[in-house]
Symmetry: C2
Subunit: 331 residues, 2 copies
């Protein structure tokens, strides 16, 4: 079934208010969840919302908490998220990074003691809308084995890089695991093999069998040893720049909270906006001029398909899982 963006957002607002969110925070939090769903990222939109509410019920998320500044080194600031709602904390941190970039040219807001930011791409789109080039990343609980090991000791640590562009921002949002647990779950339910080896089974063999990988809890880092190293370094940066928890600290908690995140911005005006338009335009044309792997297909730039999905969902309504939607109406 399909519902409108407004219906979805209104339901989120209603429920968030029940959970003591102030009106402005309920509106923003609901908008972020609704936009993720609108963009087709259900795993961090509608489908994630019930878990988000559970985390509030369990006390992992402090509804009323506000981020506070801990240290300032000029264009680089450290903030404490006080375990507030992860998407509100991240949104507020990126806003601060944008503000600092407009002042200093470049900036870094490093946030400790926060919660899951839901969809990382949200903050790339946010910075691009505000005319900033941005890099942001988060650490997570240990959900992947480091290369050479079999037990989970590193996170999938999503990394977002975004560039503003009039015809459509470029937004890359990529975890350091090849497939998310959510994506593997979809293949498991459909009883379909993954397109590429996505991890190891319990016997230690590379596998396309999502169920076997989920059972072994051994998802594969992108580029094997390369993504494993990238994950370690992003985690280090997040913990060190924010003076927050690293993956080993998070792994000792009973659930995923107390995360560290980094928001880096560059002011696009200083980068020269007409130059950005020219370079991104030419680069996109160039990339798309590569002959396609399969006839009739084409090469996409990061963020392009999100825009297409958003457009379709705005026109036709957002396609949602009826069971989850009905569950939401009962909440």
């Amino acid at each position: 079934m399909r519902i409108t963006f407004e219906e979805l957002q209104a339901q989120f607002v209603r429920i968030l208010k029940k959970y003591t969110f102030a009106d402005d925070k309920a509106q923003l939090c609901a908008r972020l969840f609704a936009q993720n769903t609108l963009d087709g990222v259900h795993s961090h939109g509608l489908n994630r919302f019930p878990t988000f509410i559970q985390y509030i019920e369990k006390g992992y998320v402090n509804v009323g908490a506000e981020v506070t500044k801990q240290e300032s080194f000029g264009s680089w600031e450290r903030w404490n998220g006080h375990l507030g709602p992860g998407n509100l904390n991240a949104y507020s941190s990126m806003n601060r990074a944008i503000e600092l970039a407009k002042t200093y040219g470049m900036s870094c807001v490093a946030l400790n003691n926060t919660n899951h930011w839901m969809r990382g791409g949200t903050y790339g789109w946010q910075a691009a809308e505000a005319g900033c080039i941005s890099i942001c990343f988060t650490n997570t609980l240990p959900n992947m084995p480091p290369w050479g090991g079999t037990e989970n000791r590193i996170g999938n640590n999503p990394l977002v890089i975004a560039v503003p562009r009039k015809e459509g921002h470029l937004v890359l949002d990529t975890a350091m695991s090849l497939y998310s647990y959510g994506k593997m779950d979809v293949y498991k339910r459909k009883n379909q093999p993954l397109p590429f080896d996505g991890g190891f089974d319990s016997a230690g063999n590379l596998s396309k069998d999502a169920e076997a990988i989920l059972e072994a809890k051994r998802p594969l880092p992108i580029g094997y040893w390369k993504g494993s190293g990238l994950s370690m370094m992003l985690d280090m940066l997040a913990a060190l720049l924010s003076k927050g928890n690293a993956v080993n600290d998070i792994g000792q908690l009973e659930s995923e909270y107390g995360l560290s995140q980094v928001f880096i911005c560059f002011d696009a005006d200083r980068a020269n906006t007409p130059f950005i338009e020219q370079v991104t335009g030419e680069l996109i044309s160039y990339i798309k001029s590569s002959a396609p792997m399969k006839e009739g297909e084409e090469v996409y730039y990061p963020g392009e398909r999100t825009l297409l999905t958003r457009q379709e969902n705005l026109e036709k309504g957002i396609s949602v899982d009826e069971e989850i939607w009905n569950k939401l109406l009962q909440m």
Copy 2:
């Protein structure tokens, strides 16, 4: 055969002076080539040196050029490399980024119109030695197809992330391709299959056959679509922040020059050096506590094996290819 670091460096100095390098520049350039070889990165050390000299002979590298500042936005500066030696330009840019980070807390030096920086890790080690956390990356000529395409339109764009640590810095140096052309060439010569699919053959099938991939010129990005997207975004950042060439511009030149590079630094003292020691130490222990894939093996942190190689080569002398060493003696 094995030679000493000093012998190697002295030969490089001798040749560079023949090619009109001033004494201080010959010393530094030779040291960087010798250190890459000492660390086991022959492809950007001794084995690359003859090609570096060819580039000078062909006029792609301007021996006497000095980097000049083009624009300053405070902690973010744009520099022009004037097609000087790539390793000297990059070294000088990282030095400037370190200097700016000590002043401002964080910094970015974006360099346009430069040459191949040889081994990216060099500049991560350099920043770590100077007490900075760093992120740096370069673009390259189009040497990889974007995901969904068959013709080379993106670069392998090496990315370096480094964190200083007393017992051994953490330095990740990773290209966006799973295997470099150099590495695939090694497998081709040995007539051995790659450990993992490294690209597509001419028929469009994923392959472990290095020769077939080299023939098809279709190396694989790390994580398939993910590394392809990362490569595009790193290229955008390099071109936009430096106001330099993007991969499409470089692809129109007759050889690989006129590159764009980015050097980002954070001052470790502000990040809190004792905190860095504690976090990196705990995180390394934690990662190493993962049961190994193969009995007797262990999990390494980025940079660990480089240190082991360096130590071994310092003790026993640097193992070099005799043919290339003799060629060097004739130059």
